[in-house]
Each structure stands twice: as structure tokens, then as C-alpha cells.
Amino acid sequence: MRSVFLAVLHRELLLGWRRRSDLFTLAFFFVMVVSLFPLALGPDAAQLRAMAPGVLWVAALLSVTLSLGRLFANDHADGTLEQLMLSPEPLSWLVLAKILAHWLHAGLPLVLLTPLLALQFGLPGDAIGVLVLSLLIGTPVLSLLGAVAAALALGTRGGGVLVAVLVLPLYVPVLIFGAGAVGAHGSGLGAGPHLKMLAGVLALSSVLAPWASAAALRVVAE
């Protein structure tokens, strides 16, 4: 079972590497969205510092949401998805491999870019640390929950907007715990509880989301 998981993961990473421009486009989008907020709200340093965690989290959320369309659509179009679904291995396991690859392409780069952008907002070093940690724990959850929405929207005319409509309510707890962690750290309450809740959500969704995505794929793509 592990070899199939690794085979799917390897394929996803290889395909992602061949389409590396997608990675840069996504990173660019993230940076652009983050830059829009100071442009809209003014360069006041204190205000920027206060809104930095929220801005970075919302931008990460939007970037991941945008990238969800590609999670299953290409495989669905060229028949690979059908082959995966015919496999004797549990589909949820294969979906988990795809989700991991998605996070490596769409989540991890954002985590790595965050320190630079956070410096632009004047966020102090320790807060940046908490922010990066919250995104590190939180972005996999975004990929996991996003996979369910991407699978559901697969057979529809709705496209990317439908995926966003489906997934954004589900992202709310992640956003609250993630961005809230930095705020709690800043106000002296400590980021521990928020980060632990986020880790709990990650644990729960890493079990439930692949199953739900697989169920959705069976409904939609058969």
C-alpha cells in the first residue's frame, strides 16, 4: 500500500515540477494580494503591524482556494482519476497522496514566503515565528478541506467560484485559530491554545477529509 502512495506522490511531484510556472504564479498571487492591503488601507506602521497576521492568513487562504481547481481536474480530464479509482488500494489513501503533493506545491511555498512579507508589515521576530508555525499547521488543513470541495465541484459547470463558495465556510475555524494565534501571542495570552486547536483540526481533517474526498469522487466521477 505504501508503494502505491509513494508512486502517486512521485507522479504528482513530477507533474508539478514540469509545470513549475504554476508555482511561481501562485507565489506571485500571494505576494500581490498581501500588497493590496497596505495600498488600500494606508501605510500607518502600527495599523499594518496589527493587521499583518490577518492579511497574511486571508491571502494564504485565497491562494490555496485558487489552486484547488487543479487538484483533480487535470486527472479527471485525461482519465487518470478513473484509473486511480479502479485501483484495489483504498481511494482515500491515494487522495491523501494527492493532497500532500498539493500542499507541497500550494501551501509550503506560502509558508516559506511569509517571513519576508511579515517583515514588510513590521511584525516583530517572535510574532513572525508564531505566524509561520500557524501557517505550517494550518495550510495542510486548507489542502485537506479544499480537496473535499474540489472533488464535489468536479462534475459541475460551476468552476472555481463554486469551489470557493463551498470551501470558505469550512475554512473559517482554520482562519480564526491561525490568525488568532499571533494575536494571542501579541497580547501576552500565549499562542499555545490556538496552535493546539489548529493541530487538533489538522489531526481530525487528515483522517476525515481524504475519506470524504474519496466519497465525493465516487459520487461525482462515476
Binding site: 465541484a153 462534475g155 459541475t156 459547470r157 460551476g158 463558495v165 475555524p173 480564526i176 486547536m197 459520487v219
Partner: protein, 260 residues
Amino acid sequence: MKFHALLRYATPAHAYTLAGRLLPWLFALGLLLTAAGLYVGFGLAPTDHQQGESYRIIYLHVPAAWLSMVIYLAMALWAVLGWVLNTRLSSMMARALAPTGALFTFLALWTGALWGKPTWGTWWVWDARLTSELILLFLYIGFLALQDAFEDPRQGDRAAAVLALVGVVNVPIIYLSVQWWSTLHQGASISVSSGSSIAAPMLLGLLLCALGLWLHAGAITLLRLRSIIIEREQARQARWLERLRPQRPKGPQGPQEART
């Protein structure tokens, strides 16, 4: 023996007839109870010491909020039943419930805003209850959007069932997270039941309105169910629909009027 007789109603054809017979009663009773509740709440119940007369909005706001949540659970239940048991009628019931649930969620938010302005000076507050209710509206909209996005209605039923299930699991988490967030950021404290124990006429008015609106929601849902049954069964060209067709007058055209 009796169970077999009841199982008849699991078919769209019989459910159509049963719904038709039930709904006038539900509507009439719902109307009566709501009117009674409003009479008690608006006419008999005393004024609230802190909020004045504006508190009376709760007789509409609280039942609407309760219904918005109950209907979501019922909708998810029927949807999942339709998916797991592969019964068409269960999914049709979920489809019938969704718009009513969404409407009550919208009403809860709207009446909440009208209550908030005179009481706390603002139309909207990002407290746990309001924010969770707003997200519930988004969940309803997602459910409705997904259903209609499929060519094949049965696929739409099943996909929406998966979404509803994910939503149901998420609703407690959403509420928990928003409540946590709200208590950390909250300035003014907001409470639906105003702290002190609720007076008897107020409670009576609230319960009557809740029950009345619940029956009313049931009536509307059954009427919508009837439409959905006709639409879906027509797509399947089900034969039992023949007896529903409006009778054509038998004139001189007679049997020569051939049907293709």
C-alpha cells in the same frame, strides 16, 4: 403489518398524496399557533426592564434562528439517507427543506439586526451567535449551489449529501471557534436571554411562535416537495403522473388528435 402500510409513503407517488393531505392542516395550525404566540408576546407579555419594547423582536428572531439550525440538521439527515439508502424521495425532501432553511437563516440575521440597533446601538456585531448564523447561511447557499450544478439530479443529490455531512460535522467546530474568537475580542457583551430568568408570558409566546413557525415551515416544505416530486418524476416519465394531468375536455377532435 402496519409498517408495511407506512412504507408505501416512501414512494414519491404516495408521498405526493400524503403531503397534499397534510399540508393544509399544518398551515392552518401553524398560522393559528403563530398568531396566538404573537398575541401573547406582543399583547400580553410585559415590557423588558433593560431593553424596552424592542425585545419583542425575539418572538420572531429566536424561532427563526432555532428553525434555521433544526432545518439544517433535518436537511442533512434526509440528504445522507438518500445517499446511503439510495432513495429518491429522501433526497427530494432535503431539496425541499433547503430553501426554507436558508430563508429562516436570513430572517434570523435580519430580525437580529433590527433588534441590535435599538438595543445595543449597532446593526451588526461580530459576536459568536451572529457570525455563526452568517456562516450557516453560507453553508445553505453552498448546498443549494452544488445541487443545481449537476446535469444529473441524482448526482447532484449525492454530492450535496456529502457536502451536508461535512457541513454538519463542521457546524460545532465553526460555532466553537467563533465563540472563542468572539469572547477574546468582544467589547460589549451580548446575550439572547438577557441574563435574568425569562418571564412566563414571554416563554409562552416564544414557544407558541416557535411551534407555529415550525408547523408553517413543514407546510411550505411539503408544498415544495410536491413540486419537486412532479418535476423529477416527469423527467423520469413516471406513469403515475397520468392521474395528475389536468383533464382535457373531450371535444369533436376525439381520438384523431394523435400524440407523438
